[in-house]
């Protein structure tokens, strides 16, 4: 059962015909040819498919495309439309990756996470829920916890931490 929906992907309005079963991830990768979000597990257990959806970090593998008709999606490719995003540059500076497969998801997650932290969203390791969260107070353990939805089998976490810390402190 095919239906056509509209998505704004990396700033471009796109019509895409999807099956009722098509996930947002497969719509992007297999139907729109945007393979920046990756399929690492397809079940919400690795974070490789993370994009920014209506401004928030979001998995695309556990999202049926039809439910997101009209959504605005930014992938790691879209973050670099006007030159590398500071997060991307920081990943290069600190070698925050090896094979590169989880990387676009890590980058999108970091961008979304920094935004969350700047909007007073606490985390599991936030000691006092009454104290407002700010970017300036983002400790290493806060960054690690908040980035834990993105697995990296190459073990590039120390580089990822350094990269996110660089941007958070900027």
């Amino acid at each position: 059962m095919d239906t056509t929906i509209e998505l704004t992907v990396d700033g471009e309005r796109r019509a895409v015909t999807v099956d009722t079963r098509t996930t947002l991830l497969d719509a992007l990768r297999e139907r729109l040819g945007n393979t920046s979000p990756k399929k690492g597990c397809d079940h919400g257990q690795c974070g490789s498919c993370t994009v920014l959806l209506d401004g928030r970090r979001h998995l695309t593998c556990l999202a049926l495309a039809l439910s997101y008709d009209g959504a605005e999606i930014t992938t790691a490719a879209g973050l670099a439309r006007d030159g590398l995003h500071p997060v991307q540059q920081a990943f290069l500076d600190h070698d925050g990756y090896q094979c590169g497969y989880c990387t676009p998801g890590q980058v999108c997650s970091a961008v979304g996470m920094l935004d969350e932290a700047s909007r007073d969203a606490p985390s599991h390791v936030t000691e006092d829920l009454d104290v407002p969260t700010t970017l300036e107070d983002l400790t290493d353990s806060e960054i690690r916890e908040r980035m834990s939805g993105n697995l990296c089998r190459c073990g590039a976490y120390p580089g990822i931490l350094a990269a996110v810390r660089q941007v958070a402190g900027a």
Partner: protein
Amino acid sequence: MKELAYVRASDPAQAVATVADDPDARFLGGGTNLVDHLKLGITTPGTLVDISHLPLDGFEETADGLTIGANVRNSDLAADRRVRAGWPVVSRALLAGASGQIRNQATTGGNLLQRTRCVYFQDPTTPCNKREPGSGCSAAGGYGRYNAILGASPACVTVHPSDLAVALAAVDAAVLVLGPGGRRRIPAAELHRLPGDDAEHDTVLGHGDLITAVELPASALARRSTYVKVRDRASFAFALVSVAVALDLAEDGTVTDVRVVWGGVAHKPWRAERAEDALRGRPLTEAAVRAAADAELASAAPSSDAGYKVPMVRNATALAFRRLVPALAEEDR
């Protein structure tokens, strides 16, 4: 994944009617659990009724507390200033669950209705009474580290994975349900059930019942509450065991009222009423907490793989009380 029809619900009543009329229809919320199941072939509905766009996404302050729309995302609920101050156990439980991305997507109602993570339930090639009633329970006699230690039955030995459900039971929350027969209000602690000889049903809800909201009543108990979760990884993992504690202490250190709810130990959030009774009206000490937990655990019947959960949940309970009353630490050790 079976071919299916997709309907975007226009209002809650229509959504309920559509699902109630079609035994093959299911509600689609945030999708973080259902889409997983669709891909694995764990469930094969014919129609999905998308409720994620219904305007059930607000917070309403009431005379008694706060009412949370069922579509409020886990991250928004956890970050809400009123929830952090008035029901910290709710924030803590949510933040201990899943990942930042999933919390942005998963809804309040959906979190409560997520299904077990038992590896055999997740694998349609193995028998599972919950997935396929009558096929048998593979977890009994199989991989059992995550199995229940309380309230299990021969039909099902699994545990409920929701952290939020454990927290809600500890603050006397209620779940508002719109069903084919109208509206009802179910205490959160009574939403989930034990398997008995019916492993298929996780909750007391029927087909077509839609969770529309969760009520958080304000109380001294809820204000002094916390959540301890023990897991294999430091983050992004389901609980081995978890503990929600809400505590109202008199000035002299006597327990005025208390809630102790355990996750990861049973087919439902386990309200440790025996432990609560043992603590209520008495001075709070770490020894008392441990003894209270042991009283509750007297009926535990773990398989060998899950035997570690008995000391773990007892100790985690003590830890949760220590988080709420730091003086306990010096007192007893």
